[in-house]
């Protein structure tokens, strides 16, 4: 597979940006709060040189195998990132809020179904089975991710749950990249390598450029420190705790009336 100078530049830039982002996550202690997101970036960071090495030394067949292993792992970890972001939003006190648990499960089920139906509608203009599977697979993954991230926003707004800044930044980046990927994969189904190889390459470069933009956005926003909260005096903390108990007790009392 011949790589142009621009392809090589984008590859190296993506590799460096991912490395910088991983450093930012560790330096700002965000890797501890978002371990799955950090793992996804680590996979990407290691995956790029490994695939480059495989392609250079063992050729295209080995590259495809490696690509598939990486893409499958990537998809699974991306789903993990959705769960991680959702946990930050829907489990503000460490455990999932009771009113959103079922809605989240329904969201995941519905999103998989819609992504699957859309994927089955596509007929990629490819001659080789492996290419068809790759186009369908990447489309399914992108459509699912964009659905899930929009779904998280809808669910949280409906339940009145605010987003923590870091979780919002990660979700925004993912949402934008997934959206660009859906558009790319949709256009890609129309194109065949035999006659439109250069167009496919151009679209691919646009997608990687979008990814670089998202990586830059994450580097900048996740580097920024959140405003320092005020120190709550112990007496106030105790009063807040009692108030929370009182609010909880009152709700139980009102629910109790229903049974009478």
């Amino acid at each position: 597979m011949h790589l142009s100078a621009l392809d090589k530049f984008l590859w190296v830039a993506g590799f460096i940006a991912t490395g910088i982002l991983i450093l930012v996550l560790f330096y700002r202690h965000r890797a501890r709060s978002f371990p799955i997101f950090t793992a996804l970036l680590a996979l990407s960071f290691v995956g790029v040189p490994v695939l480059y090495f495989v392609n250079s030394h063992w050729g295209l067949r080995a590259y495809y195998k490696g690509y598939w292993i990486r893409a499958s792992l990537d998809m699974l970890i991306q789903l993990g990132v959705v769960y991680e972001v959702a946990s930050h939003v829907f489990a503000p006190l460490g455990k999932w809020a009771p009113d959103v648990r079922h809605s989240f499960i329904r969201l995941v089920g519905g999103s998989v179904l819609v992504a699957l139906v859309l994927t089955l509608l596509a007929s990629p203009a490819r001659t080789r089975l492996i290419e068809t599977v790759i186009v369908r697979g990447t489309f399914f993954s992108s459509a699912l991710m964009v659905e899930l991230f929009v779904g998280l926003v809808v669910l949280s707004a409906g339940a009145g749950l605010p987003w923590k800044t870091d979780a919002a930044r990660i979700a925004q980046g993912f949402g934008i990249y997934s959206l660009v990927s859906v558009v790319y994969d949709t256009l890609n189904t129309w194109l065949g390598w035999a006659h439109q190889g250069s167009t496919i390459r151009l679209l691919s470069e646009i997608r990687i450029t979008a990814l670089l933009g998202v990586l830059a956005y994450w580097i900048v926003t996740l580097w920024q420190e959140a405003p320092e909260p005020r120190e709550m005096p112990d007496s106030m903390r105790i009063q807040i705790f009692h108030l929370q108990r009182q609010v909880e007790y009152d709700l139980g009392r009102i629910r109790g009336w229903r049974k009478i």
């Binding site: 006190l93 203009a125 929009v150 949280s156 987003w163 909260p229 807040i240 609010v247």
Partner: protein, 184 residues
Amino acid sequence: MSNLYFTIAVFFFLAALAVLLVRHTRRLRSARNADWEQLLGRLERVDRSKIATIAQDVLGDGAGEGGVEPQFELDGETISEMLGGLEGLEILERNCQVLIDLAAYVQRWYPEALVVAEQLRLNARELEWHVGRLKGAAQTGNLQTAFGDYAQRAVVIYYLMTQHVLELYTRTSASGTAQLQAAL
């Protein structure tokens, strides 16, 4: 031809997601970025004395001996008149969102206030549930019979939420407590 259907389907899919995203992001953003004046400005006017009367009918005034005891006297029709029907309850529902945002406002300085904000949010969901039941009853023509059952509980939740938000502001010595008291 199949890809044409596919592209049209993706177009509608993305358009639907965009509409959902814009609508709900607006709500999240208004809650996160609103300043104090904007938050208070979102509170809709309600007759506090009537809210208190309906709530105290089942709660008493909480003053203990010598205070008003729970009476359980108000029926659905009276409550409906006092509240202004389902529309009145919908105002309480919208005000509940503001109460949650007011609790979240304190969290900007004291993240520990999250425990109260989260509990208040669950209370608001309960109120939404009661109002939802009444909306369902209105569609089936059973609003009057259902009103007494659900509306009073919704009002009690709202009344207690206002008390708790005020208490949260007082406990954390947050600025604007007096303004809030006047608005609620």
